[in-house]
Amino acid sequence: MRSKWLMTWIICLTLAVAMGSPATAAAEEVKIGFILPLSGALAPTGKALREGAELAADIINNKYPDLGISIAQWEGIPNLGGAKIKLVFADSRGEPAWGADQAKRLIRDEKVIGVSGCYQSSVTKTASVEAERAGLPFINPDSTSPALSKRGFKWFWRVTPHETWFTADLFNFLDGLTQGKAPGVKAIPKAKLKKLAVAAENTEWGAAALKTIEEFAAQRGYEIVEAFKYPHKAADLTSEARRLMASGADVYLFAPYLADAILFIKTLKELGAAPTLVWGQDAGFVEPDFAKTLGAAANGILTRDLFSPQLADVIAVSGQINTIYRSRAGYDFHGSSARNFVGIQVWAHVLNEAKSTDPKAIAEALNKLHIPSKELIMPWKGVKFGEPFPGDTQQNELGSGVINQLQGFPGGKYQVIYPFEFATADLIYPFPGWK
């Protein structure tokens, strides 16, 4: 009888220990709020970003033994008892005020442990204020206005490099062309590249891009012969396109979202513009719909980016994960969707380091975090938060950009041209034009 009681007690005790153990915690979920523009003009972009984040969560939560990065072996967050990442998406509609409301809702109603998003710098700016007020971490994967990391926020960390890097990349690229460093092209006299015309959409992102380009041009000896901001929800951009053409610029530089990028290129083609180079500041120029919609009209267009499927040649895991992404989304990763993948990857690493979902523990872990290059799908040296440029706080200092060129229509691909040492194809120069 006594042995029966003893056995019962042992069983009960075992069950109780089991219930309190990490194995039971594995059933728990860690909820992360994710704000994206899922409707409105930016809905196609939001969809691609969501797919990037969802793939990262899937790889963290399930085993992918063939992928050579640690999150693929975890099946949840190891130091949180295998807890699964659950992304709670909210639609910003592309509007700063609405994005901030969504951040409040996620924090108050969904009880998320932190927030990510929001693609547009203007929305990230307002939404991150709500996280700052609530004392919850906000990890931004993809907004590039330099001002965001110069606000001195305690609860804001940015994974992506910001515009200052990308603009430096552009001028390094132009200087490289004059020094004969570009693959397949002899040194180009600076006089043929000197005159620049800039068209930037008029939200915070475009305005910041324009300002940085103007500063770098002055420092590096280039001449801005035309520069203006325009509303990206424009019914017609003919006047703006004519303005670029009338400027006599050699190089056209754009900072647009998707719809206006398409409209600009279509209009310039219709007007028969013939610049020497056309370069876009990411965003609209790297959306899957950009090349798909414009077809051969996009041949030879350069874009600042952070990713190219061609990187598979130099980063094996990048190619493997992009293959999975393409099989699900129907198109390749682009710089923004790939950065959203990395954003969720950062969440996984930091939660594992923090061993807790307590905001202070996460913040502490974020400030100590170092993800090495081999863990990433991006051509970065890693993720480590610091002060890469004067005034930056909690900004990843190991990121970098690439410059791609759309080549080979039909079926055009983004070929890496810069950094020149990672070039996957010869540069098409001069721009073939639309005449």
Binding site: S39, G40, A41, A43, P44, G46, K47, N202, F228, K229, Y230, P231, K233, A234, A235, D236, L237, T238, S239, E240, R242, R243, A246, L258, A259, I262, L263, K266, T267, K269, E270, L271, G272, D289, T293, L294, G295
Partner: protein, 285 residues
């Protein structure tokens, strides 16, 4: 000089298109005193008709115009019969929210069917072609769109002011009760106004698709311009919509060249000033 000519020419061409888009909105308001918030979505449907016709049928998108007109007409009449007649019984605010609801329904129905992707017409007799007039080069599809808008605008104007049907429509617009006493079927006239409104903006959508991108959310952009155009020209005024369309086209063309960032601001300043100093608009009653 060449640049100025080109900017003004494009401004006027786009003005004809804006005027034609605003025509249906003005007509519906004139006859029924209802603001159709779904007007932009009717335009978007016209754009998708052009896209589908040129993608799935071996036809030039120009052929889609009568199809877009027919679908727009049916959409307008159905909206009237199955929505507007019901919400007319409610308070004013129900009428506002009714067409707003129709706008959301159409937008997200199209998004559900075709997805949020941005598309453009890839082929067509006039797609991507230019017309050179010696000193200026013009986009052929814009010239064609503006020309057809002008022609169809004139046709609708003639129909309203020169035909028996048009007189019945205007009588309904001026005093529906008196018109009923005179034997006019005002219900039919209301439905007809919605049908014409849908057909004209459907054609405008088919024309816009030749040089503009297509996405389920595109309607909002154009309906805002149409509201400003109608308010500027005078609610219910056909000739007012025409003149205001050209003014709006010129403002956004010239504004786009000199102060692109503020080009919509200039349009809405014109709208604001009209509302403040001449609430009935340039030609409204």
């Amino acid at each position: 000089m060449e640049l100025a000519t080109q900017i003004i020419t494009y401004g006027v061409l786009m003005g004809f298109v804006f005027a034609f888009i605003a025509l249906g909105l003005s007509l519906i308001f004139g006859v029924m005193n209802i603001v159709n918030f779904a007007h932009g979505e009717f335009l978007m449907v016209g754009m998708y008709v052009a896209l589908l016709t040129s993608t799935y049928l071996p036809l030039d998108p120009l052929v889609s115009l009568p199809i877009a007109a027919a679908i727009g007409f049916v959409l307008g009449v159905f909206s009237y019969r199955f929505l507007i007649t019901h919400i007319l019984r409610g308070p004013m605010v129900a009428q506002l929210f009714g067409t707003f609801g129709l706008m959301l329904f159409l937008r997200y129905l199209v998004m559900f069917i075709f997805g949020p992707d941005v598309r453009t017409l890839s082929h067509g007799v006039l797609v991507g072609k230019n017309i050179s007039l010696g000193w200026i080069s013009l986009d052929a599809s814009k010239v064609m769109a503006a020309g057809l808008c002008l022609l169809l605008f004139a046709f609708v104007y003639w129909m309203i002011y020169r035909t028996k049907l048009g007189r019945a429509l205007r009588a309904t617009s001026l005093d529906a009760e008196a018109a009923r006493y005179m034997g006019i079927d005002t219900e039919r006239m209301n439905g007809f106004a919605w049908g014409i409104g849908g057909a004209t903006v459907g054609i405008a959508g088919g024309l816009l698709a030749h040089f503009y991108y297509i996405t389920p959310t595109i309607g909002m952009l154009f309906v805002l311009i149409a509201f400003a155009t109608v308010a500027l020209g005078g609610f219910g005024s056909i000739s007012g919509a025409f003149l205001a369309g050209i003014i709006v086209g010129l403002i956004q063309g010239v504004g786009g060249h000199y102060l692109s960032e503020l080009k919509f601001t200039f349009i809405y300043i014109a709208y604001f000033l009209t509302v403040v100093f001449r609430p009935r608009g340039l030609f409204g009653w």
